[in-house]
């Protein structure tokens, strides 16, 4: 699965980067975003849901988070 590292990138740049990365994928493709704890993990998933993508899971790994997502229809 494609894996996009957004650690060290602050809001709202992390969301914009996630959006740009998603543009290269097709609807139904799955992808993982690596997110910092704090604001990032609170804001990015909600904003991506707002854009119509399907959130699948959130897992904590060594102090950061992995958000799995399926790209929604345009």
């Amino acid at each position: 699965m494609k894996n996009i590292d957004l650690r060290g990138v602050s809001c709202p740049t992390n969301f914009v980067k996630a959006k740009l990365a998603l543009e290269l994928l097709d609807a139904g493709d799955k992808v993982e975003f690596l997110l910092d704890d704090g604001e990032s993990v609170k804001n990015v998933p909600r904003s991506l849901k707002g854009e119509g993508h399907k959130l699948l899971a959130l897992t904590e790994v060594d102090g950061y988070y992995v958000l799995s997502l399926e790209k929604g229809e345009e």
């Binding site: 993990v41 609170k42 998933p45 909600r46 849901k49 707002g50 959130l55 899971a57």
Partner: protein, 319 residues
């Protein structure tokens, strides 16, 4: 002579309507323009700019802390011209004195991702129906925040409104992703043994973040409306308003404020220039609670505390 004629020709009706504030310098006044909720159409902004360019003698306007546009350094002889050129009706000046002031509001849910209610719509409705109502006692401020972040500091108003959602979980829809647990800033959600989130209702501040993040709509809004705090004010002796109602529907806001106003008018009779919060402290909050409960039984809380004094550490109050 012609000077005199000019000055007496000023329409005093405009003055009485309020919104004209004396400045330090001779003959100069500020004209405060109403901008309920802090939002104004660009066309109106342009018109204001044109009038300001002509009549604000220092070429400046000021944005008041309660979101009004203030034309500053205006010669009082130009009042009538300013009012006429702004176009009366849609450009009414803002109120001063013992009246309901222009409501303030944040952007609310329209374009702000945190908003839970349409603060702009409610603020406009309150402005339309209650702006300028005389209280007989003191000024009366109303403010709207779209969510519990409360950027507009709603509880520092006489009546302050804060958008709120009561979350409710539909167990079947949950996929156990854990996003809500991580999203809740107040630690109100924990993951139970069977990968099902559990809500500790007393920790919840009704922010709705869980509802917004949940990918399967397992969290839903069981209730939506305004958390209402009453009796706040700022100034020399600040008070923070306290909780009187929760999940008040948007369309009942005007009636709710009107009920508070009626109680205030009655209880403050003979007490001079006293703000609502001080009257609540004198009367005890139960009197206002029961007046509100008779009309809004579903939303008024069972018990509350009086408005809370903030210790400013300067200027002890006698008594």
């Amino acid at each position: 002579m012609s000077e005199d004629n000019k000055s007496t020709a000023v329409d005093l009706k405009n003055l009485k309507a309020g919104g004209f504030i004396k400045e330090r310098k001779k003959d100069l006044f500020t004209i405060r323009l109403r901008v309920p909720g802090g939002r104004l159409p660009v066309s109106r902004l342009k018109r204001i700019a044109e009038v300001a360019e002509k009549y604000c003698s220092e070429g400046m306007v000021h944005l008041s802390v309660r979101q009004s546009v203030e034309l500053i350094n205006v010669n009082f002889k130009d009042f009538d011209a300013v009012v006429a050129e702004l176009g009366e009706g849609d450009q009414r000046v803002a109120s001063c004195g013992a009246r309901v002031r222009v409501p303030t509001a944040c952007g609310g849910c329209e374009y702000n991702p945190n908003g839970l209610v349409d603060t702009q719509k409610t603020a406009l409705e309150v402005d339309r129906q209650l702006f300028g109502t005389s209280t007989g006692h003191h000024k009366f401020k109303v403010g709207f925040a779209g969510c519990p972040f409360d950027c507009p500091k709603s509880a520092t108003n006489d009546v302050g409104f804060q958008g709120a959602i009561l979350p409710e979980l539909a167990n079947d829809a949950c996929i156990g992703c854990g996003l809500c647990v991580k999203s809740c800033s107040d630690g109100a959600i924990t993951m139970g043994d069977v990968k099902l989130p559990r809500l500790d209702a007393c920790l919840c501040t009704w922010c709705g973040d869980c509802v917004k993040v949940c990918p399967t709509e397992a969290w839903r809004a069981a209730k939506r409306g305004y958390t209402v705090r009453i009796g706040g004010k700022w100034g020399r002796h600040p008070l923070v308003g306290t909780l009187f109602a929760s999940f008040l529907p948007e369309e009942q806001v005007v009636d709710f404020i009107a009920t508070v106003l009626d109680w205030y008018k009655e209880k403050a009779e003979g007490k001079g220039r006293t703000r609502l919060g001080e009257i609540i402290i004198q009367e005890g909050p139960n009197s206002l609670l029961s007046a509100l409960r008779s009309k809004f039984p579903q939303y008024v809380v069972d018990a509350t505390i009086p408005p809370q004094r903030i210790e400013t550490q300067v200027g002890k109050r006698p008594g």
